[in-house]
Symmetry: C2
Subunit: 165 residues, 2 copies
């Protein structure tokens, strides 16, 4: 299976709003749908801005809108099956970030070298965030464990070589 991976992770206030809102939703929508008005009030985010964010989250298949009285938003999947990276990716524009798309025009190797280094790091960060779900965050105790485990894994992955002085 081949994904066109979105390697570049941006972690802006926009993403923070989205994650915060999704956390709020995951926490409150277990009984009934949650209106954006409620989330807006609780998290002090403007309603219209939330509407924009949730339009994207909906198109990404992460939430479902229920119209009419008693309606609101609910999660399409379980909180454990929604990770942080996809929330951020849903609200952030792709912004391809590769000045030399793939290979082509980077004759000067140095540019591509550093470029690839950054892409590698970015991918690591992404992998890290993929490993954290909404449910992980809601169950605080687990979070710490998961975090430690993933930190270790990631470090292994890049073959850290700390030189003692």
């Amino acid at each position: 299976m081949v994904f066109i991976e979105e390697v570049t992770v941006r972690l802006t206030t926009k993403g923070r709003y989205a994650v915060t809102a999704m956390l709020d939703l995951a926490f409150h929508s277990q009984v009934k749908p949650v209106t954006l008005t409620e989330i807006a009030a609780r998290q002090t985010i403007s309603l219209s801005y939330l509407e924009q964010l949730f339009a994207r989250l909906r198109r990404a298949g992460m939430v479902k809108g229920v119209r009419g009285p008693g309606g609101g938003y609910k999660l399409c999947r379980k909180a454990g099956e929604i990770n942080i990276a996809e929330i951020i990716a849903a609200v952030d524009e792709p912004l391809d970030s590769t000045k030399c798309g793939g290979e082509g025009n980077c004759q000067k190797g140095d540019a591509c070298l550093t470029h690839n280094l950054w892409m590698g790091l970015s991918k690591q960060i992404r992998t890290y965030l993929v490993g954290i779900s909404l449910a992980d965050l809601l169950e605080k105790d687990q979070v710490q464990e998961v975090a430690k485990r993933q930190h270790y894994d990631a470090q292994q992955a890049i073959e850290v070589c700390y030189r003692p002085e």
Copy 2:
């Protein structure tokens, strides 16, 4: 001991430029200082923008400028002692991110709950990035290969620019 920790990590294009430039510097400044003009050319970042970024990196005590001919920038510390989180923190404005600074005005517990969840995650991400140094990135296997090839190119370029005495 109490630190006023900068918990919120922003990962924007600005931070990417900074990390990319620092990687370039770490890679090339082992022999002599590297000019911003060189980095600008290699990484296709405007010189003036690099100047802004390096002004911050310098104030953060990560790089040192050497004036005059043969000058440029060099790292203040070893590449293994400079981590990604501090590079990003140096160029990004603090942007305190806490709407309820500490405790005060969050009577509604839900808001603070979600807020704390986010802060917890943000802190994890920060911890993750603190654990990755410039040296870690440079010491990846694939890098070394490319690096060897490029060392020749780089030398050529230097000999072209600077006439050997």
